[in-house]
């Protein structure tokens, strides 16, 4: 009697370099947005691209969240758990650093005329940076589990499910 999976689950794929590329693009876009606010349109384009790609990565990478409602076995559950834990830790750290930095900026902006509303005012800059940082954290949240799982997962076993072991059976006397 079959008590296991009734159907074949899609193979797990390691995506080692694509998440790193997305992280690089997201980091560059964050720096550009902060250093050159006039390139805001470029930041929007890069952000839309990275967030979309990050979502696709989490569907088709080793996390396979597209099949989240399907059966996963204990090994896959363990890897998902580890990778998500790593991502939550990293995201919490980055978010904390961002909040501290923005807090310092808010103090400075308060001294420099917080309530002035103009495109170059500290208030507008604070709001823009808050959005930039939050978006960066979202990208990290989407990409880091895939990145962690892809780099920590051992080499994938080639599927030889149809092949029976080739050792000769012991001869019966």
């Amino acid at each position: 009697m079959t008590i296991g999976f009734e159907r074949e689950l899609p193979r797990m794929r390691r995506l080692r370099w694509t998440p790193l590329l997305l992280l690089a693009v997201a980091s560059v876009s964050l720096v550009l947005e902060i250093a050159y606010p006039s390139l805001h349109i470029a930041w929007i384009g890069m952000t839309i691209g990275t967030v979309s790609m990050a979502g696709v990565l989490s569907w088709y990478g080793p996390m396979r969240t597209k099949q989240a409602t399907e059966d996963i076995d204990e090994r896959e559950a363990m890897w998902r758990c580890r990778s998500n834990l790593f991502a939550f830790g990293a995201v919490a750290l980055v978010a904390w650093v961002g909040l501290i930095g923005l807090g310092f900026y808010a103090v400075w902006a308060g001294l420099a005329g917080w309530t002035v509303r103009s495109p170059d005012s500290p208030l507008e800059t604070f709001g823009a940076w808050l959005v930039d940082w939050a978006t960066y954290v979202i990208v990290l949240f989407l990409v880091l589990p895939t990145l962690h799982a892809s780099w920590t997962m051992p080499d994938i076993i080639e599927d030889e499910s149809e092949d029976r072991p080739s050792f000769p059976k012991p001869r019966r006397r």
Binding site: G4, E74, R75, E76, D159, E160, S161, E162
Partner: protein, 80 residues
């Protein structure tokens, strides 16, 4: 943790897929187990042992198993 899953599979002529279906895991998990890249839960270890009809410590061990050649040699010596 060490195991003799590959040995038992070879002896019983069981494919990875058959074993995986019987114990309720993905095919690749059996491969990872055989290669030592994954340590099974107690439940999975018990299911695998039950599938082969042996005690769990016959399939899994915390110390390396004795090579088959050494076991056979010792068994032959005992028979003499």
């Amino acid at each position: 943790m060490h195991n003799r899953i590959a040995l038992f599979r070879a002896e019983r002529s069981v494919s990875r897929r058959e074993l995986a279906e019987a114990v309720g895991v993905n095919n690749q998990t059996i491969g990872y187990l055989e290669r030592g890249d994954y340590k099974p839960s107690l439940e999975l270890a018990l299911k695998i042992a039950r599938f082969f009809g042996v005690a769990v410590e016959t399939v899994f061990s915390l110390t390396p198993f004795e090579p088959i050649a050494a076991t056979l040699k010792r068994a032959g010596r005992d028979e003499e």
